[in-house]
């Protein structure tokens, strides 16, 4: 049974985005602080940086990082996460991740301005859809062929899937910093916890891993 999964990193005050990007620092400094523990993990180094040295932290943060990559058959993301908002005029834009995007599965990018699909040698593809969350999930579930579907981000896209009741497992890594600005993950989701089991696990890094889960309905 396909489950719909979400993994996000947020600040203690609930912000899933940072706002200090500049042309010189396209991700800003806050993003590095928000993702610092994840960036130290062995899994991140292997899967995202393609660093095969075996270096990096193991432990709680790495356990969650590794689970992130397990059992996913397709991904859905918003246009902003793919980079369409930051690069609106670049019709050759292929995403932030270079020629080995760390997905390895079909990725469906939600946008009001579809463009031709893109494929990579490692099995990643980007297809551009104008669709509701339910419609996108139907397409992604078929592509996943029994494996799970991830809603990758950003927070606005995730919130639309949470508000529609479509998410079976939500893992949030809460970094103990206060950003004070950005997009809040939790806004307008009063009562989200209904119907979920919730577990929490602290990591030595200070990051809290919170997981909402329920049986799959997809």
């Amino acid at each position: 049974m396909t489950r719909v999964r979400v993994d996000l990193m947020i600040s203690l005050d609930g912000f899933a985005t940072t706002t200090d990007q500049t042309p010189e620092e396209p991700f800003g400094q806050d993003w590095a602080r928000l993702t610092a523990a994840y960036a130290q993990t062995r899994t991140f180094r292997e899967r995202v940086l393609h660093d095969t040295s075996g270096e990096g932290e193991s432990g709680v943060d790495d356990d969650y990082a590794a689970r992130y990559f397990e059992g996913i058959g397709a991904e859905i993301m918003g246009a902003a996460m793919f980079g369409l908002h930051a690069h609106p005029d670049d019709t050759d834009w292929r995403g932030w991740w270079g020629e080995e995007p760390p997905f390895g599965v079909p990725v469906f990018v939600l946008t009001h301005a579809p463009r031709p699909a893109i494929g990579f040698a490692n099995g990643t593809s980007f297809d551009f859809l104008t669709a509701t969350p339910e419609e996108a999930l139907a397409v992604a579930t078929e592509a996943a062929a029994g494996a799970d579907v991830r809603v990758g981000g950003g927070p606005t896209t995730v919130r639309s899937f949470l508000a529609a009741g479509l998410v079976d497992q939500l893992h949030v890594a809460i970094t103990p910093i206060l950003l004070g600005r950005g997009i809040r993950l939790w806004d307008d989701l009063r009562g989200l916890e209904d119907g979920y089991r919730v577990t929490t696990e602290g990591a030595p890094s200070g990051v809290t891993h919170l997981t909402f889960s329920r049986d799959a309905r997809a």
Copy 2:
């Protein structure tokens, strides 16, 4: 050396107050959900309900509940926490806690409308001050005679002490529910984490215990 300590319970979306109070349910239903794990602890039953049966949960939540009561020599709270806003015309109001308030130390209530001090047989007293956070802390530190001072709440009072850089240890119990309304603990505190060590510990109840601590400056 006196440390300034804060302990609060907040929802996952950062709200430290609830808003569903009615005349029939003066605390509302959300408050019970926010404090459910704490209300189950053995320490809460003993110290707040005066239940000496020894029943109640032990474990992570109880460990923090017990530490709450250790080493406090004086407390500071806002007028709303004492109940002056809910009972503005009741000049005989003695707080929410009956004749055995669970403090046992001098409590300083910040208010723009001071009233005569109140004393209880168990060592609790309420003194009413019109003072800045720094001024109130000076008074409370002297009363604590070397023990710690707690800033008890509510969230607006706590935030004024946090914003002034006066808090040495902040323990927040995060209940995994989304309230969607109320007073946010974390607003306008960007960068609060600077200078603190931060640890996190998850409880089987789903509550996350987050602690910011630094060496005392008082």
